[in-house]
């Protein structure tokens, strides 16, 4: 085998490699079809005969939670940074959109974008400030940031504290929309953010995030600039959660410090990311659904629901430490892995030597 290293003949395209590539394409197609079916089902949902108005409203809330959890997952799942402060970005997004709507009459879509952008700027700053933090220190730092933002919306007059800001009805492209319309705005936004996250985690940037997560030394020795990629991860994460925040405020046409001045959003979003599994694309979907639905039943069950929530959380952590999504996907992954290995070792070209390249491009 050692002699083959010095072989300089250009290799014929490897048959096994082509087979692997075809298989990977097939798997990717399957993923696209599944995601397409899911979004089609969400699209049809409000049109079904038995679906009532409150269900559509609740559906929009779940979508918003999923989106916010997607933002958290960029940090916790792909970059390996804990955040217990994403409620702050939700608040920043919500207040940006609300204040712009109140004072400049901006409508939903520009409000959403503005909310995301302002939130991203704060994310960038936080990423810079906490550049060297990890673990428990990062957790308290982000939590402190959430409390800090909470104190600001409670006390600075423009945010109108616990009285809150009431907003006019929402419009999109000049048309007034109700809950029904808002559901579709949220759904389309979620589809876009999902596409973006999908593209991000498969890109070289996503690779750099994951490299920092798994070993920052190895990442840096390969040329990954920690400062750049950490702040980038923070900004992207804050942007997505900020967009969700804008929607979260606009859907009820009202925001107040009663809701955003507390840290419970922050904690819920972390729980959503952990329970769903934040290193997989559909993890936040499961986690977001979980935390959006629990308070729904919380009112009836009161304290007992707290116990259920805690038990459910611990049960998930014990049974599925990498999140529910990982458990759901495990058999599929194992099957695909097996198929790939079979294809990769197709007998006719198993020992084909490779070219001695790798230097000078």
């Amino acid at each position: 085998m050692a002699e083959s290293i010095t072989t300089t003949a250009a290799p014929a395209p490897s048959g096994s490699r082509a087979a692997v590539a075809t298989l990977k394409n097939t798997f990717q197609m399957q993923n696209w079809v599944l995601a397409g079916l899911f979004f089609a089902a969400c699209f049809v949902f409000p049109l079904l005969p038995f679906v009532e108005g409150w269900m559509v409203f609740q559906g929009a809330f779940i979508i918003i939670y999923i989106m916010a959890a997607q933002g958290v997952s960029i940090l916790t799942g792909y970059t390996g940074l804990v955040t217990v402060g994403h409620g702050a970005f939700l608040a920043i997004g919500a207040y940006t959109a609300a204040l712009l709507m109140k004072y400049t009459g901006l409508s939903v879509i520009p409000g959403m974008i503005a909310g995301g952008l302002v939130s991203a700027v704060f994310g960038l700053a936080l990423g810079l400030v906490f550049l060297r933090l990890a673990g428990a220190f990062m957790a308290i730092g982000t939590l402190g940031f959430a409390f800090f933002i909470g104190a600001i919306v409670n006390n600075v007059p423009i945010f109108e504290g616990r009285t809150g800001i009431s907003l006019p009805p929402n419009t999109v492209f000049g048309f007034e929309i109700d809950d029904f319309g808002f559901y579709y705005v949220a759904l389309v936004t979620l589809a876009l953010t999902t596409l973006f996250v999908h593209s991000l985690i498969r890109s070289g940037v996503g690779r750099a995030f994951k490299a920092l997560r798994d070993s920052d030394k190895a990442a840096e020795s390969s040329g990954v600039n920690r400062l750049l990629y950490r702040t980038l991860a923070f900004s992207i994460s804050a942007f997505i959660t900020g967009v969700a925040g804008a929607l979260n405020g606009l859907i009820v046409n009202y925001i107040s410090a009663e809701v955003y001045g507390d840290i419970w959003y922050s904690v819920d979003l972390l729980v959503a990311a952990v329970v769903g599994g934040s290193a997989m694309l559909f993890g936040p979907f499961l986690g977001g659904f979980f935390v959006a639905m629990v308070p729904f039943y919380l009112e009836e069950l009161a304290d007992f629901a707290f116990i259920l929530k805690g038990v459910a959380l611990i049960a998930v952590l014990v049974l599925a430490p990498a999140g529910v999504a990982e458990v759901v996907a495990r058999p599929v992954r194992a099957w695909r892995q097996r198929k790939l290995l079979e294809a990769g070792e197709s007998p006719e070209l198993a020992d084909a030597p490779g070219p001695p390249t790798g230097g000078g491009s």
Binding site: A136, F137, P321
Partner: protein
């Protein structure tokens, strides 16, 4: 006015100190931030209240009994929740303690209701003059208790076999294991100590605040901040951090206005971590490549 603010700060700081120390003790040996620490305290206060009100026990007896119960609760938490996932990542452990937080909140609310209850006051409620400042006797008693517990911890870690073993586990769990230290037992002991400190924190705070499921939420967060201030590995650091935060809060409340009182701890922690990621007196670990 400054002296008064410092004294009030010291009083508030001593309320945070026990929680901060408990956060440090658990973190050092398990790498977990125990978010249920405040609830250990709350359960301790509730139990003491029941022992005193319903069973008619004396204050000290109720305190002792409650401390034992909460130590058992700490051990239970370790055995039932933390041990099965001990090998998981940091975030999993962190979130699991949040689960315990939810459960204990739910249990206490379910059993005893969400309304706030008064704790029987064992001291003379009229403020007394002390070193030129006005302070309640309760706060002075608390400070004395905290000092006594601090001394107790110091001698425990210094002179007892278990205390020394606990420090060895902190320094290097693997070597400790090789040296024949029963690491699992030590981790259990760590959680028992968290219960011990929790029960005291709750019972000492109860007469000053009130008794309710959420009574310790703020103290928990401030205790966590204080622990991080001290670098998360140092008990004196945690106590210092707690006093610093108590004093800073009162100074901010006194000179800047009441709004700033709650926010100041978080402003301080964000600024501190920006410049010293390892905490105020944290250990700068050598970067191993």
């Amino acid at each position: 006015m400054l002296g008064q603010l410092l004294m009030s700060g010291l009083a508030a700081g001593s309320l945070y100190a026990l929680t901060a120390v408990a956060v440090v003790v658990v973190f050092r040996n398990t790498r977990t931030i125990n978010l249920a620490q405040g609830d250990f305290a709350m359960m301790g206060a509730f139990l003491a209240l029941i022992f005193i009100k319903s069973l008619g026990l004396s204050y000290l007896f109720a305190l002792g009994l409650s401390v034992v119960c909460i130590m058992a609760l700490g051990v239970l938490t370790e055995r039932l929740v933390m041990r099965p996932i001990a090998d998981s990542g940091w975030l999993t452990l962190f979130t699991a303690t949040l689960g315990v937080y939810y459960i204990l909140h739910g249990v206490s609310g379910w059993l005893w209701g969400r309304d706030t209850k008064a704790f029987p006051v064992t001291f003379d409620p009229t403020p007394i003059h002390f070193l030129g400042t006005v302070v309640s006797e309760g706060h002075l008693i608390n400070m004395a208790w905290v000092t006594a517990i601090g001394a107790l911890l110091y001698s425990f870690f210094r002179y007892t076999k278990q205390g020394i073993a606990m420090r060895a586990v902190t320094d290097d769990p693997e070597t400790a294991q090789l040296m024949g230290i029963p690491v699992r037992f030590i981790v259990m002991l760590t959680w028992a100590m968290a219960g011990f400190l929790g029960a005291f924190a709750g019972i000492l705070a109860a007469p000053i605040i009130y008794v309710a499921p959420e009574m310790m939420d703020e103290v928990l967060i401030k205790g966590y901040v204080a622990a991080v201030f001290g670098g998360l590995y140092s008990i004196p650091g945690a106590i210092l951090g707690a006093i610093l935060i108590g004093v800073a809060e009162n100074l901010a409340g006194g000179y800047l206005g009441a709004h700033f009182k709650t926010a100041i701890a978080f402003v301080m922690i964000v600024i501190l971590l920006a410049f010293r990621p390892q905490g105020l007196i944290g250990i700068q670990k050598r970067r191993e490549v």
